[in-house]
């Protein structure tokens, strides 16, 4: 980012594009109170993640910067901000909108690609082996069957494997 942000070089339509997506409707209601950032558990660990700042950048029209950034992928979907937001911005849903837009624009962080591969290979984010199932049996839980085929089918169908 440069030292001075020239608004005329940004995309003022960006906020309307977000608001036109399901879940993004309320983004313009944000009045920057900072309740989201104050309660965010991710921000506590990583200062770079700042929901208020992301909304601000979006409202100003910093489309490229927002969509290409890693921040939008860091949300842990804990719903703290969603519950607390006094203007009902529905931040989690806004983040989903931003992620979808980022993917469409070709911005997929490498870690996402790894996760998609794991899902495709194991039907889960990590492999279930006998060790896990024996532990489950001991405490009376049913075995977990790997559903590799179904999941990888869905991934193929949605085109996630081509990202």
């Amino acid at each position: 980012m440069t030292d001075v942000i020239n608004v005329s070089e940004l995309d003022p339509r960006f906020k309307y594009e977000i608001a036109a997506q399901p879940g993004g409707e309320n983004i313009k209601a944000c009045f920057s109170c900072g309740t989201c950032s104050a309660g965010c558990p991710v921000r506590e660990i990583d200062e770079r993640y700042n929901p208020r700042r992301i909304i601000r950048m979006a409202l100003l029209g910093m489309k490229e910067q927002v969509l290409s950034s890693d921040f939008i992928w860091l949300c842990s979907t804990c719903y703290t901000c969603y519950e607390r937001c006094p203007q009902d911005v529905k931040l989690i849903e806004v983040m989903n909108v931003l992620k979808n837009m980022a993917v469409k624009a070709g911005y997929v962080p490498s870690v996402m690609k790894t996760q998609i591969k794991l899902l495709s290979d194991f039907g889960r984010l990590y492999e279930i082996d006998e060790f896990d199932n024996k532990k489950r049996e001991k405490i009376g839980l049913p075995r977990i069957q790997m559903q590799r085929e179904e999941i990888s089918g869905i991934i193929k169908l949605t085109g996630l494997d081509k990202l």
């Binding site: 942000i5 608004v7 209601a29 700042r53 100003l60």
Partner: protein, 566 residues
Amino acid sequence: MDQSNLLEKRVGVFICHCGTNIGGFLDVEDIEEYTKGLPDVVFTQRNLYTCSEEGLSQIKNGIKEHNLNRVIVASCTPRTHEPLFKRVCSEAGLNPYLFNFVNIREHCSWVHMHERKQATKKAKDLIRMGVARVRLLEPEEDIEIDVEPACLVIGGGIAGLTASTSLAKRGFKVVLVERDATLGGLLRDLYKLYPICEDATNVLEGRKREGESYPNLEILTSSEVKEIKGFVGNYEVTVDIQYPRHGIRIIKVGVIIVATGAKVLIPEGLYGYDGKRIITQLELEKRLKEEREKLKRLNNIVMIQCVGARGDKRAYCSKVCCMVAIKNATLISRLNPEAKIYIIYRDIIQVHGTEYEDYYREARDAGILFVRYHPENEPVVSDEYVKIYDEMLGEDILIPYDLLVLSTPLVSWEDASNLAKMLKVPLDENRFFLEAHVKLRPLDFATDGIYVCGTCHWPVSVPEAVSQALGAAARASIPMANKKVRVESIISEVDKDKCIACGLCASVCPYKAIEIKKTEGGKKAEVISASCKGCGSCGASCPMSAITMHQFTDEQILSQVKAVLP
């Protein structure tokens, strides 16, 4: 009660605990014991709250059972409770002027919370002084004055018009004096009013038509108040009429409402103000009224809040500008939804009340962007851009503008002090008219019979100005409806034999309550009882000691001084 008995002084002292306010910090029992030994004190009583129903009946019983002819309450402040205790004395048959207040809360327990012994001693001293004075008090009667059932309203903006119409509706004679050629004040220049975007012209014309329909409401435009003489109930006002024919009118009224309004600050020298591409909100209102087609073609509009306000020179917040900016920005966005509108505000945006909060949200929803600044990082305006530090991004942003609108505060008229002098009412440090009490008497002046409403008192919106005007009209109608006012006879009296008509008293009197008049015995000073506020300036200045202040005679004051000296 038998007034002849007044020769024998029988003083009753009621000492209030005020819950723990006094009782928690002073040795009230010790004070009572001490008080019993003071001259002429025949009865003492301690009350948990003297102002409670029980405490008041204890005063009444004390007066009756012990034949008291002087009463002291040692408690809180006369500012709030003296009228109550005086009334109770009166109800028990004692002349209320034979009552004396001693403040042992503000003057003792509150200010000396941590010095119980000394505070207790001080309370004893004050009560001793009170007893010394109360023994010398004389019964007096309130003064009753006839009220001329007519009202002068100064200023024909929305506040003055509303107050006039409201009083005319009640059947009182009203004279509305407006110095401009037309009525309406600031409303004439406004386009739409927040929050429901009513047409300002419609609001004004409706009020004007209503006002003009009352034959008992006389409207004098192009006219100015030149002189005001008299006092509550009997004011004599000189009005200079410029148009249609120049002339002077003398008007007699009982009460006066001040509604002279304010004006918008022209921000000369601030942010490159030029009245063309960089304008005030008021100038924008005019363009919204007359040049909407031109405004439609503008793509980048920036507004800056608190211009010339909340700084060293003008410390106050003008209160209405945030809503004005939001309203005008919304109107522009309705004209041209593609316009990029930024409101650069300081610290907070002033939107109070549910309807205004909604309005603010609507504006954000329309895409208007709000950027905050702090005074240490003020916006910088160049030919093309406004540069502002965005604290959320931690970086400067450059916002291009085709039109820059500066939100400037409402400021008082330069000549407000002339009218204030004529009326003998105070102005605050910003030259706005100052009410008698911010909470208890918000529409009155300390001078009886004069009331205030609208932006001459403080910046307000149209709905607030209207509420205040209706309130001021209600207040003003009280003396007119009663036809008489009673004033306390704490006033000065001139001993005609001693008076040498030097005129010093008349010149120091802040209420114009003394006149030098020709009498059979030559020129003499004469007190206009109704105007006198009992300040004592005349008494202190008189070189012949010819002036006596009722209730505060030299003898009474010196008795207190003697009582407190060791």
